[in-house]
């Protein structure tokens, strides 16, 4: 379904540009319509209520509209990212470091003075080597 030439990276993840634009239009339209219609309906049915409270309830409906849009888009379009669980092996770590725009030397220096608890924590999460090895294999 997704055309490779339409893939772009937006906010740290890959999307199909056409799917994204449909999604953005759908989200804004559905959210906006639900809010405005709810506001009209509540104002007409509860004339005595304070405007603040009515706006608050309409906001709930508006947010429900946004959630609905996300559910529709999520059902129609599948994720483009490739998910790897821990045991499926690591991915290219030096790319990750580059994507995060980190200075490898600074990272290594920071780890030299880190507390033992912090280092144990990072090792358990298998991210300790990211910052130690990642800097060595970095081509810069």
């Amino acid at each position: 379904m997704a055309e490779p030439q339409r893939l772009v990276n937006i906010w740290e993840d890959t999307v199909d540009l056409r799917h994204l634009l449909i999604g953005l239009a759908c989200g804004s339209a559905l959210g906006f319509t639900s809010y405005v219609l709810a506001l009209r309906a509540f104002t007409a049915y509860f004339p005595g209520e304070t405007p603040g409270l009515i706006k608050g309830y309409a906001l709930m409906i508006g947010i429900a509209g946004c959630v609905m849009a996300a559910a529709i888009i999520g059902t129609v379009f599948k994720p483009k990212r490739v998910f790897r669980d821990t045991d499926e092996g690591p991915i290219d770590r030096s790319t990750m470091i580059r994507n995060l725009a980190l200075d490898p030397d600074e990272e290594r220096r920071a780890l030299e003075t880190a507390s033992p608890k912090l280092i144990r924590e990072m090792q358990e999460l298998q991210v300790y080597d990211f910052f130690v090895d990642g800097s060595r294999s970095d081509p810069r």
Partner: protein, 458 residues
């Protein structure tokens, strides 16, 4: 134990449990503002005739539970759980990119619980000590945000560029706010600015992808691979205890912020969260440590500012003298015909400082005990499910909807227009010269004071 005390305790426990269960569900829905949910729910409870102990237990447990659960969508999907979660979007996104959304979540809620436990006693103590100086503290909000903001701008990626941009950007924000005030003939906007700045990079990404001139910069060779770190027991001992999940340094920061939040109870809570987050990020070295510390302390601040901003004015004056007590906590002060500030007949006069402290503490403990284990247990399972099944397109379409609905709710059509303008302006400066979101927020918060002091006519 006297029958009245037993009665009060029972109501407090009942109110707290009810609020916790209710707000665990509401907290999971992204974008639900605290003012629009906690305030009306508390009002309903008051009008139903809950006694003061039950009302206080309900309101504080609602705040506590909501600000623990709001970390769930923020950390694992990247959509802010509510307004107070907006500052935590950026660090959460970075940890998600490293395969650590579940750790982001666990650190956030651990910071939150520790802050809850210490905030109630600290707030009650501070209320009895420094409350008379409330006005003095309020007068210093502007200069403090300006000075700290400039320092943060300098330590951010943009360095001198961010310092140079600090005042012009603030003026631009003031000008936009002026347009809104003028057109709507009312109050200025705030959530609109927060959302615009936080989502700036997203606006700019979409613009870049739309233009044939720049599209190639974002073009992906293939789908991005996302890895998820193992379910690690980052705590010592059998059960996850919030203070064992945090490192010593993180604990110290959380405790410090809780004290500072109580003293600065007249400050904007969301501004404090940004401020605290940026200070921590400029002081802590090492990416993993910096991000996890920032998140635990920021979520701690979302709890401690709320508790302090409700309890300090409640115990000291019985008048809503802080931003949060004027919005989320207002029913505790003024809920006609049951409570009123004129004459003073509300929780301040109905409960002693001692009772407010005890009932408040019970409420936050119950909210934590119910919420914490569930979130800790399912953090990684939920993250893996989201990464496998939820398309980024769906997340971003929800964002688009939330931006439109929330900005329109706050400021009508011009609100939405300003939100997008702020996003494009801030996002461009962020991408081009590294003028970071936190520095932009500080420029915005300091702007009224800076503009008045530097350019105002005496």
């Amino acid at each position: 134990m006297t029958p009245e005390l037993l009665d009060g305790l029972a109501w407090c426990v009942g109110g707290a449990v009810l609020a916790t269960l209710l707000f665990i569900v509401i907290g999971l829905i992204p974008g639900t503002s605290e003012t629009a949910t906690i305030a009306p729910a508390t009002l309903v409870v008051i009008l139903l005739g809950f006694p003061p102990a039950g009302v206080l237990g309900f309101c504080l447990a609602a705040v506590a539970a909501k600000h623990l659960v709001h970390a769930v969508p923020t950390a694992i999907i990247g959509i802010p759980g509510d307004n107070m979660a907006i500052p935590m979007l950026e660090p959460s996104a970075k940890l998600r990119a490293l395969g650590l959304p579940h750790i982001a979540l666990q650190k956030m809620i651990s910071g939150g619980v520790v802050a809850l436990l210490v905030s109630v006693p600290i707030s009650v103590a501070i209320a009895t000590l420094i409350a008379p100086f409330g006005d003095l503290i309020r007068a210093w909000v502007g200069p403090i945000f300006a000075l700290v903001g400039l320092a943060l701008a300098f330590t951010s990626r943009g360095r001198w560029a961010s310092v140079v941009l600090f005042v012009p950007y603030g003026i631009a924000m003031q000008a936009l706010n002026g347009v809104a005030t003028d057109l709507n003939r009312g109050q200025g906007l705030s959530i609109t600015f927060m959302l615009g700045m936080a989502l700036g990079p997203l606006f700019v990404d979409v613009l870049t992808a739309l233009s044939p001139v720049s599209r190639d910069r974002l073009r992906a060779a293939g789908p991005r691979e996302i890895w998820l770190a193992p379910e690690a027991r980052i705590w010592s001992g059998r059960l996850p205890l919030p203070w064992a999940v945090l490192t010593a340094q993180q604990l110290v920061y959380v405790l410090l912020t809780s004290v500072v939040s109580a003293i600065t109870f007249t400050f904007t809570a969301i501004g404090m969260t940004f401020l605290v987050g940026s200070i921590v990020q400029s002081r802590v070295k090492g990416f993993y440590n910096r991000m996890t510390t920032a998140l635990s302390v920021m979520n701690a601040t979302t709890e401690s500012t709320y508790i302090a901003e409700i309890l300090v004015p409640l115990v000291a004056f019985g008048l809503p003298l802080s931003p949060i007590s004027l919005t989320v906590g207002l029913p505790l002060f003024n809920a006609p015909p049951v409570y009123s500030t004129e004459p003073l007949h509300n929780l301040h006069s109905l409960l002693s400082a001692w009772q407010i402290g005890v009932y408040g503490f019970i409420a936050v403990v119950l909210a934590s005990v119910i919420t914490y284990p569930i979130v800790m247990r399912y953090a990684r399972t939920a993250s893996a499910w989201v990464m496998r099944n939820v398309a980024q397109e769906a997340v971003l379409s929800m964002f688009a909807g939330l931006v439109v609905v929330l900005t329109y709710y706050e400021g009508g059509p011009i609100g939405t227009a300003i939100g997008i303008t702020v996003g494009i302006l801030g996002g461009t400066l962020n991408k081009a010269v590294g003028f970071e979101i936190s520095a932009q927020m500080m420029a915005y918060f300091a702007a009224p004071w800076v503009v008045q002091t530097v350019f105002g006519r005496a």
